[in-house]
């Protein structure tokens, strides 16, 4: 009796295991083929002189990386990407925080504002970039019209190489602000009311409450917001591609960003190995930034007790 029950139990175990692997197999295959393997391959490829049109693809060690370090386009792309990322992240977070504080109180008006501020987040990047290109138009754009109402001179938002990157930053902030706002808003709503009340009883004013209660408790979400928007900003591509296309467009060099440079090396010059080395740098930078941000958050939290 016992032996038979045990046997059935074993068989069920074996069946359950089979079920697990059978159910996971398609997902894991897809994952491995679409992500796992290509990630490994991007590292491997970066050590080869791998050109699409040339069947001879020799192993060249670190040469791609050495060339990258002297590549002016890469330097420029790195600089532009860093400026773009730092500016959009700082501006969108600093704007989202007070917005979230003001809209955290539940009301009908708050719901309406949330909807409006969130709208750009769900709109696709290509049409939005084309619309902004039209807004930035030197001759007929509404932005320059707005400036003229204030008595200011027209700005060549996209064609001026000193300004084009900032035009992208403004649009980037517009696009991501709502996302950051929602995350922070929920973070604020999740702070137990007793904490805030306790601070109020202690005589803390609005600003003091914010500094001593809200902000410290919001730190994990603030970190999450900063990390995700930094990663997203480092991968900026679509708006750059659209805004450098056609007439009245931004000059390519002024807004050359990392992914744009990778794309050009790979799909216009067909230097797959070289572009892979650049892609590996992108991966390492994103990972590095994420680690640094987590480390910073931890030490700060430690210092405050």
């Amino acid at each position: 009796m016992i032996a038979r029950a045990w046997a059935r139990h074993r068989r069920d175990d074996w069946r359950t295991l089979l079920f697990c692997y059978a159910a996971l197999a398609p997902v894991l295959l897809l994952f491995g083929y679409v992500r796992g393997w290509p990630i490994i391959e991007s590292f491997v490829l970066s050590f080869y002189k791998w050109e699409l049109i040339n069947p001879v693809r020799p192993f060249i060690g670190w040469l791609n990386y050495e060339m990258l370090l002297e590549d002016e386009n890469f330097h420029l792309a790195l600089k532009n990407t860093a400026i773009y990322a730092a500016s959009t992240v700082v501006m969108s977070t600093l704007l989202a925080l007070p917005l979230a504080v003001f809209l955290a109180r539940k009301s009908r008006l708050s719901a309406i504002y949330q909807t409006i501020y969130f709208l750009p987040v769900i709109t696709p990047m290509v049409p939005v970039s084309i619309a902004w290109k039209w807004i930035y138009d030197y001759n007929y754009g509404i932005l320059n019209y707005g400036l003229s109402l204030l008595g200011l001179k027209s700005v060549a938002w996209l064609t001026d190489p000193d300004i084009a990157l900032w035009a992208l930053v403004i649009m980037g902030v517009w696009k991501v602000l709502g996302y950051n706002m929602i995350l922070l808003l929920v973070g604020i709503r999740n702070i137990p009311a007793t904490y805030v009340e306790a601070a109020a009883i202690d005589g803390a004013g609005g600003w003091q409450q914010f500094r001593s209660v809200t902000l410290p408790l919001l730190r994990p979400i603030l970190l999450y917001v900063v990390v995700t928007s930094t990663i997203n900003a480092f991968n900026v591509f679509t708006q750059v591609y659209v805004m450098t296309l056609g007439s009245q467009a931004a000059p390519g060099q002024a807004v050359r960003v990392l992914v744009f440079d990778i794309y050009q090396n790979a799909f216009q010059y067909f230097r797959m190995g070289y572009a892979s080395a650049e892609a590996v740098m992108l991966t390492l930078m994103v990972l590095g930034l994420t680690l640094i941000q987590f480390r910073l958050a931890r030490t700060k939290a430690g210092m405050d007790g």
């Binding site: 079920f19 398609p26 997902v27 994952f31 990630i39 939005v128 056609g246 892609a279 992108l282």
Partner: protein, 280 residues
């Protein structure tokens, strides 16, 4: 304290409302401007000073883009690709999420961590090897090639695992087993229906993301017949870069489905972002 705000506090509140209102205006203006321009006849598009609303609204731009380029096809491609991607993401997330949440098997933690940890690597940094794999497969310029990276989301697996392990009691699965149900039946008839909220959240994300897909289709689809809305618009912009009436009409067509989704599911979307963001 609250009942009798000082004049200063009142002025501050008024100022906050003013800023919120102006900010909201800035947020909607680009989309409003896009829509308004799309209804303007050519003579009204490039005028100084610009006017927000068209004086003689016309549908000519919309008619025009369908004559100049196969926008109907682009739209159908976008819709088809996004729907397939959404279904695939929901199914893979549900199956993997449920298995990771409710079953013990060798390699469970390792596999889950692999799926999760690689999510941080930007797609842009491994798209080149993936493209080379696609050449070997012969999938360049095919729908399945465009679809491939959108069929699966780490984040979906993560979300569904969280949901299944916290919201669905294991006793419920045991009850099914006592009744002699197979694991597949339990997955399809017990776990799936109870995962509807998480599935709809991830489905909305998958749809929005697939609809906006750009860099991968740009590499894989070189034939116009495979273009999605985003590629079609970009190519159209290249040819008609100064015809903003038509460009804005095309842009409206690309934004519109997202606006419809947003208006219908506004609360759900915002809640999902909040929920999933919190758990990230």
């Amino acid at each position: 304290m609250v009942s009798n705000p000082s004049p200063l506090a009142r002025a501050l509140t008024a100022l906050i409302h003013l800023v919120l209102f102006l900010g909201a205006a800035v947020m909607v203006l680009p989309i409003l401007w896009m829509a308004a321009t799309s209804f303007k006849p050519p003579g009204e598009v490039s005028v100084w000073p610009p006017r927000l609303l068209p004086e003689a609204p016309t549908l000519d731009n919309y008619r025009g883009i369908f004559e100049d380029a196969p926008f109907g096809l682009f739209f159908a491609n976008s819709l088809g690709l996004s729907i397939v991607a959404t279904i695939s993401v929901c199914v893979t997330s549900l199956v993997a999420g449920a298995v990771f949440a409710k079953y013990e098997f060798p390699g469970r933690t390792l596999l889950f961590m692999a799926i999760l940890a690689t999510a941080i690597v930007p797609f842009e940094s491994y798209m080149i090897p993936l493209y080379l794999q696609l050449i070997t497969l012969g999938w360049i310029n095919t729908y399945q090639g465009i679809l491939l990276p959108t069929l699966f989301m780490s984040f979906g697996v993560f979300l569904l695992r969280q949901h299944v392990s916290s919201a669905i009691p294991t006793e419920l699965l045991e009850a099914g087993r006592v009744d002699g149900a197979s694991e597949w039946w339990i997955l399809a008839r017990v776990i799936a229906p109870l995962s509807a909220p998480a599935l709809s959240a991830i489905g909305i994300f998958a749809f929005i993301q697939a609809w906006a897909a750009f860099i991968w289709p740009l590499m894989v689809a070189n034939e116009q017949s495979l273009f999605n809305m985003e590629l079609g618009l970009t190519a159209f912009q290249f040819r008609f870069s100064t015809d903003y009436g038509k460009l804005m009409a095309g842009s409206v067509l690309s934004v519109l489905p997202m606006l419809v989704v947003f208006v219908l599911l506004r609360r759900r979307i915002i809640e999902s972002v909040a929920l999933t963001g919190m758990k990230g």
